[in-house]
Symmetry: C2
């Protein structure tokens, strides 16, 4: 089966590593000449709005999927004329726009911070008056890893904030005094079958995911599955989707969804029976889903900016290196390590070893 | 790190799948345009004796390794002038010639069937008189998967047998009334550190490996490690090497060694902490070796001639498909399934499920 992937970054690369053993071939559309998925398939070097390249991809593959959601709606619509596209256009339309996303949560009865649509500084002033401070202002589209957002703590922060974020459509979100952040990764097949991975507990540094630890029998697993199940059903979603939540006293508040394989699910490569990457491909290809059960106790640590020396990373017992083959650059996700251990105590010790390596790199 | 691989078949393909996450890039030299490793790296489409292509490979990679041992000695010697080559020329020279191989076993005190060098029909007649029948005649080089060999049961089989196998140098081996076949896969680093995987119990059909089951605390593990350790030490070997044994009453007799990753070690992809493919690359690259410990109970079943329908293979619980992306052809190894289960009883049931699928394909 020939799979087209919009985007050729590390998610595309890991999709190809998971799909090749299933007999799949990959074609990536990516405007970056050094797209790191490129060695694992055919690389169409073109923009996401290049209709000739899109046409070429559509004609050479059996289906198209995405490694990121920030592609023009026209791209998805254009491709859909010629070839099956999963997840579908409507799922992408909603997931890539924070206003649509939050409105969906509200419609489905999923608790989420107070939010308001911001089309002008006047809208912002009114929203701040209603929601109060502190609050977080975010661009409706194109934000990721803490980019395209600004925390508003006091009235001075509000002045000119709309212009500061580029005078583009935004939302204002009430601040949630959360005790932790968790995410749930699920996969849903073409036939509606749905499987959930264990919740992972996430730690961010400067808005970028730093550490994900897969949980065991988390007390909020069932609640998270209920919320995510509503979203998947409503969107008639096909593929992997990740739902990020704020953990609050005794419950969850929805933060955002990502209609794709997700950084907080990278631990599943070694830590689950069937990884999020393989399960996404199984789902979009109409194949039976794989088990989302854990294998041992797992965690994932991101390498941001640079990857420590290979020999040091792999010398750590239970440690699996995933070097994305990307040029090092401050703030850039260039790799991760998965730890898979027999028990939680060992896992904790191994996390400390990897953290020490990162600190000394 | 840039790795050159002589051969671009499924072993090269699985090396690339294991090495890409370590940040390695792959170049394969293979005369077959449809070499199945080709989508995962640069494919130099040329013969193994093409000095221009060999030169090109040597200049573009950091080291060269092999996915099979039947390459001309001149190829290895030529490459060695320009780039590090692992395993070294001498290891390949011995492992690819049954006479040198068996002589090494004898020199190292490793029990092996009676054997004799056959350069003519007269040599054969004399050897049969000394060793007796039944016996197995094998070409000294280029034999694999039961090819290049003939079982001699009665005097009529002996007549003209030398010509029948192509009048090339052969050996005659005394028949061993074995109770089973086991293989031991080991990895040895540049610094001499050696690690052994658990013995796997192998079943062949028509000379081709059919099923490998990883053992738990096999009573002959220590003896097999002793024998293989002697070989690795003697050859100052670097990389993965597999040693196939006949299991006899209370002991082992050496059958043959393969100086590369081996079909009977494919279960390690999911079934061991670090696979034979990753460990081979770690060894040849001078990196620390990975753990050879088992993860659960594992087995590997080969798909020969054709791969059953993907949706049927992956619908089996605990089953991981490895489709090599090769054209189907009778007798050809085109894929395998790894099973990784929590206990031996479940493993046995799953093996039966995969076998039923193969039988009904």
């Amino acid at each position: 089966m020939k799979i087209g992937v919009i985007g050729g970054g590390q998610l595309g690369r890991m999709l190809a590593l998971a799909g090749t053993p299933l007999g799949m071939d990959f074609t990536f559309l990516d405007p970056a000449p050094d797209a790191c998925a490129s060695p694992l398939g055919t690389h169409l070097l073109a923009g996401y709005d290049d209709s000739q390249a899109l046409r070429q991809m559509a004609e050479s593959v059996d289906l198209v999927t995405f490694e990121f959601e920030n592609v023009p709606a026209e791209t998805v619509a254009f491709l859909s004329q010629f070839v099956p596209v999963y997840p579908a256009a409507d799922s992408l339309r909603i997931a890539r726009d924070r206003w649509f996303e939050k409105s969906l949560f509200k419609e489905l009865g999923i608790p989420t911070p107070a939010f308001a649509d911001i089309q002008s500084q006047a809208d912002l002033d009114a929203a701040v008056a209603a929601i109060g401070l502190p609050a977080v202002m975010k661009t409706r589209t194109m934000g990721y890893d803490g980019k395209g957002q600004k925390v508003l703590r006091q009235p001075e922060d509000v002045q000119g904030a709309f212009a500061e974020l580029g005078s583009v459509p935004c939302i204002l979100e009430g601040f949630v005094p959360f005790t932790g952040e968790v995410s749930l990764v699920a996969v849903r097949g073409r036939d509606g079958e749905t499987r959930f991975y264990p919740l992972s507990h996430n730690t961010h540094v400067g808005g970028v995911l730093n550490l994900s630890v897969a949980s065991s029998t988390h007390p909020l697993q069932a609640l998270a599955e209920d919320y995510l199940g509503r979203v998947l059903e409503k969107l008639d979603y096909v593929g992997v989707l990740a739902f990020e939540f704020f953990e609050i006293e005794g419950g969850l508040k929805a933060n955002e969804i990502a209609p794709r394989v997700h950084n907080s699910g990278h631990w599943t490569i070694e830590g689950a029976e069937c990884s999020q990457f393989e399960n996404h491909l199984r789902a979009v290809a109409g194949l039976p889903l794989g088990s989302t059960a854990k294998v041992g106790e797992s965690a994932m640590l991101n390498f941001i900016g640079s990857v420590p020396a290979t020999e040091q990373v792999i010398a750590i017992e239970n440690c699996h290196l995933h070097d994305y083959g990307k040029a090092f650059k401050p703030g850039r996700k260039v790799g991760h390590a998965t730890l898979r251990c027999q028990d939680a105590t060992t896992l904790k010790a191994r996390i400390a070893e990897v953290e020490a390596l990162i600190a000394n790199a």
